[in-house]
Structure formats: structure tokens, C-alpha cells
Symmetry: C2
Amino acid sequence: MSKKLSSRSMVFTTPPNIKSYSSTVGKEEGDGNLSEYFDVIEEDSHFGQDSWEKAESTMQGQTIERAIQKANLSTEDIDFMFSGDLINQCTSTTYGIRDLEIPFFGIYGACSTMTEGILLASMNMDNSLADNIVCATSSHFSTAERQFRFPISYGGQRTPTAQWTCTASGAVVVSHEKKPPYIVGGCIGKIVDLGITDVNNMGSAMAPSAADTIKTYLNDTGYKPSDFDNIVTGDLGIVGSKLLIELLQKDNIDISTQHADCGVMMFDIDRQDKHAGGSGCGCSASILCAYWLPKIQTGELKNVLFMSTGALMSTMLLQQGESIPGIAHLIHLSHDII
Amino acid sequence: MSKKLSSRSMVFTTPPNIKSYSSTVGKEEGDGNLSEYFDVIEEDSHFGQDSWEKAESTMQGQTIERAIQKANLSTEDIDFMFSGDLINQCTSTTYGIRDLEIPFFGIYGACSTMTEGILLASMNMDNSLADNIVCATSSHFSTAERQFRFPISYGGQRTPTAQWTCTASGAVVVSHEKKPPYIVGGCIGKIVDLGITDVNNMGSAMAPSAADTIKTYLNDTGYKPSDFDNIVTGDLGIVGSKLLIELLQKDNIDISTQHADCGVMMFDIDRQDKHAGGSGCGCSASILCAYWLPKIQTGELKNVLFMSTGALMSTMLLQQGESIPGIAHLIHLSHDII
């Protein structure tokens, strides 16, 4: 059963769990801060394929298959899946899962995709319609660069606020075993747009939506930031993380002690020259599966708020003078049933 | 409560209903076969905006607001919404709903979006998390032409199998009133790809997935085609509809009496020179809301299977030699609780 606290916040009184998880990253990401945590660090950025798009599809498909294997399940045991990605029109997902024969709901939340999927899966574990739901996403530096920015061979100069789209994928199997990590609550994202138009400052475009979601969940549940070991955002990077903390301080919410951001965590930023940090759907998805979920599973961490953050823009609309709307979906992860 | 019949098929024993619905179409669509049914036929294809993309956003936003008004609700009464569209990166939706302040799950199912959203909403009405969920989508001839095909001013010759992307939007409010039309069951789509690579023959690319979903639902429930007044597909057009009926006949399933296709229904094809018919997310969404739902509400039709059909491709992957995967999500609509 679930309890609806508001149209956005909910608690799962019989919480679903994350039965298994898997992560894959590329060479650059594997050379960063978290190299010891990932399941697979792939040295070949083409993943054996002849195009970047097929490379990303292959990475996502392999990550999903590994998550299913780690759950000791086969694809036939999966009721359905939620997945999406950044590449027109979510084709890294479509072609990556085409041969898996799993009933499929395509989702689009830009870099918020991982928690959008897990939140939807959790809500759907609460009725009698599913035993095992896969949630996944991916991003690839080279597919994102050529779609959103410049040809890689052009060698364009990056601005200091720019983030580096991670070559990375994460996949989980949401189930209802009595075993941590549990998903004990969540908060649905709402579009927030404070008028940022700089495509090289995505962190600032997404920070207001993350602040809005955190504030809503804390207000609706009565939790304080100190109730959590960590409050984790997807990929705000250095610039967006600073803004997030400032925005919440204006509402007298101080998360500076608990806050961590996957975009900041991924790279050894100065040595690897990654400017404001990492980004991309796969950034928070892979770090969730590599770093956070294992620590919650063992009990090293007891209570974590995790939200992937998405910039719901297109280059076309920015060329037409539009600003960048952000969204952030939150899941509340816990070692114990609350 | 719901009953899971397979990982794909389900029946809703306490079925959600469609509390209200709204449709908007452009001038060409309003000049077609169904002109008397739509809520709004907008003569200005720019919808008062200065770009096609902003026009489509405006159309979708207006359609959603009208559906909410027709339900005698305000946006604050809506728990959350599912929507998506064809335009990179689902921005017709994002910018169209940005100011509505409704908690938002972005979905991507290409032209299958409308039934993907309604199926997800129905599944989520089955727990205690929502009272009113909006599902919507849109497409616009001019946004789709310039993204997927040629500059309109180029005046490219269309092939006989080509379909015309409709300027159209549909929106529904899914609720749990005891009032028809009810959603009494559904079947989650699965990706099917039989190797079609012709981007001007989308109907044939989508027909196999529609056949697969119909067959699965009939097998899982024990229903026969004759149990339904109509079995409706999204936008297979003339070519895809013919293939659908042939594919099912190979499995000894004859839907030729019950079948109707929104892509065939929309235009007076010969007079309007629309080749294989209409297409686009908004095609099946607007016709569902304008034609089918009212007839089920009044009881003129008792039992209808409705499935929007999507081609999950991108121009990039087709340039790389890939084929076009299709998907079709089915909802079972009924005047009575079964």
C-alpha cells in the first residue's frame, strides 16, 4: 500500500526494493573518482559497433542484461520496463532493448530519466500488476556531442560552466523482496524554469527544479535534512550544486552537510579537465548503481534522498530564444522499512 | 484492483474511467472526414505563435487546459500527467505544459504515446496515489516535416505510401468515477521490428507490432474479434492497415469487420491528396477524443479495443542502415463495467 501525502509526495508503506543493479562506464569515467565501483569499464568507446549511436545502444542493452542476470532472472521474468535517453528519438534505448522482448514503456525525462523510471516502477509495484520491473538509461559523450553541440573533430573550446556528458549506463530491477535497498517514498517532479538560456550552464537550469522537489518532499513528510545520510542530485555539477544550496538556504533549508552531486563525483575534475563536472542520463544512473545502492544495501548508509535532474530543452527551442525548463524526480532510498 | 493475465495483458476489475476529453486539430484535419467531431478546428496553423514548435506547444497546452475545464477541475486537482510528442526532445510537451504546474512524467512512444499514457494512468489509478491523471499528446505537420523530412518550401514529392503528419492534439482526464467510458483492460506494447527500412512506409513498420499486441490481448483474455464493436489502430494508414489484417489472418484472427484506423479516418484521402492517410501522435489522440470516446460514453458503442501505434526510429539511425522498430499499446474501452 502507498500513502499519498500530496499530489507529488508519497510514501510506500509496503515498500518495493531494488533487487539488483548494474553499471557500465567508458574509459574517461573509469579513470575518474569512482573507478573501483563500476561493474564494467569499457575501454572501447565504440563498444564494438560502427557508430556512436549503436555504441550507446549496445552499452544500455548490456547493462540491462547484466542487471537481470545479477537478479538471477531471465528476460521472461521481467514484467515490463521503463527506459529512455537523450538521443533522438530515444533510439539508444529502442535499439538497445529491441531484441530483449520485454514489454516496454518509453519515458523521456532528459537526465532525470533514472529516477523518473524508478519512481514509476515503485508506484506500479504497489498494485498487483508486476513482480519485476527494469528501469534503465544511458548517455554517451560522442552521441550527445554531435547531437547537441559540435562535431568532435571541430575541437570547440568549452566554457567553464560546461559539463561533460558521461559515457555511462545504469539499470536496476525493482521488485518486492524483503531485502534492502528499499524505496520507501518519492516525489514527482514538476517543471521549473527560472529563465536560464545558456546551454553551457545546464546545472543552473536544473538546480531550481531540484530545490523545488527537495523542499516539497521535506515539507510533505516532515523530514529534516539531518534525517538523511545524504541528499544526492543527478548532475548539477559544481555550478548548479552551489546554486541548489543557495536556493534552499533562502527557504531556511540547509543541505550543505548532506548534499552530494553525481556530476561532481564522477571525474577528478581538475586532472581530467572536466570544467563543471559530468552530466548525461547515465551519470546519475551509473553512480546510483555503482556507489549509492551498494552502500544502502550493506547498511553503511541508512537513508538517502536521490534525485536525477533533467533539462527539458532542445537546441531548436534555444535557437528560438527559449529558456531551459528543469525537472527533478526524487526517490527516498532506505536500508530499513520505515 | 487489477488482475494480471500475463506480463503484458491486464484487466481492471474496478476500472478507471475517462472523466473528460478534448481535441484540437488544424485546418486540413478540420476539412477532412471528421470535421463535425472536434472541439476546436484552428484555422491559424501558427496558433498565434512565431514558430511551428511554439505553435504545437500552444495547441497541446490549450487542449490539456480544455480537458481539465470540461472535467470541472482546475490544474491543482490533477495529481500528475503523462505526455510526450515527436519533436526533439519532447519539447512540444515540455514548453506546452511548462506553466500549468502539474507534476509531470514525460513519456516517449512516438505515435503510440496516447495509449501508452492512458495505460500507465489506468495502472496508476489502481493504487491509492491518484484521483485525476491527465494524458495528452500532439503532433504538427510543420514541426514534423522540418524535423523528419524536408524543408516545406522545398516542395518534395511524396511517395504513395507516405502519410501526412496531422496537426492535432488530444487530452483526457483519467479518473475513477462510476461513469463511462471505462478502461477495463489493457496490453503493454513490445517492440517488434520486421526489418522495414523505408521511412515513407511507416504503416508497414508499425503493423507487425499492432498485430502482436492484438493477438496477445485476445489470447490472454479469451475474447474474439466479434466481441468488440471496433478494433481501432492509431495511424497505420491504408498500406499498414492492409498489412495488419493480413498478418492476423495468418494466425487465423479475422478483424476485417471490426477494424478501423485513425490514419485512414482523418482525411478525405483522394480529395485532400493525403496518399496513405494521416499519422502523428495527435492523429489517434484527437480522433480518440473526438469520435470514439463520445460514442462509447453514450453507449452507441459498447466495447472497443484502441491502440495507438508508434515507429520508434530516428532519421540518424535510418541513415546508418537500421530498420524501424514498432510498438503498440492497447486499451480496452467499454460502456459498461465488465
